[in-house]
Symmetry: C2
């Protein structure tokens, strides 16, 4: 979790990404090497997401449970945490309190 | 409204700014000249904000009404729009649909 508190020399896409009637929103950040992250907010609710790329989800703040593909278990994260989602898969989230996240997309 | 679709060579603060239980959130973008903007999302609801600096609020998408300080009138913005809030003042917003905005802070 010893990540930087800010991203320097990046490009930010102005328009937000909006999902679930705005209960999940994010902004896209593009780095000098062409890699991409999104900085997002999830409000309380139950969500299912699909991903093409591998996703590394860093939780900056919040209280949530995540169910990763191929598992019946729910992982509980309070405060900070991180989990990785395999490419071409779906995962479920139960958001209990406003959750601030940074998602990195890893191309294979 | 002929603004750029992205901001290049900027710094983005990772942690979100969270207001009203997450119904209003934003990310801070710092430019090379030291000026600051926030990119934010407002969910439906009624809000009152105070500002120290002059704020130029560019609405990227949404449906809202704004009441500027010293006025009883409500200005209706659907889709894109812009309004300026004087320094050291308060203003009210009635957000009807998920609203995506870019706020510029002007130091005097």
């Amino acid at each position: 979790m010893a990540e930087s508190k800010q991203f320097d020399n990046v490009t930010v896409v102005k328009q937000a990404n909006v999902y679930f009637d705005g209960k999940v929103t994010s902004r896209t950040v593009v780095f000098e090497d062409g890699t991409k992250k999104t900085l997002g907010i999830m409000l309380p609710g139950d969500y299912e997401f699909g991903t093409d790329a591998i996703e590394i989800m860093e939780i900056l703040a919040g209280d949530l449970k995540v169910q990763l593909p191929g598992s019946d278990a729910w992982i509980h994260i309070q405060g900070e945490g991180e989990f990785t989602v395999p490419a071409n898969s779906k995962f479920k989230l139960q958001i209990a309190t406003v959750t601030d996240y940074c998602c990195s997309y890893i191309s294979e």
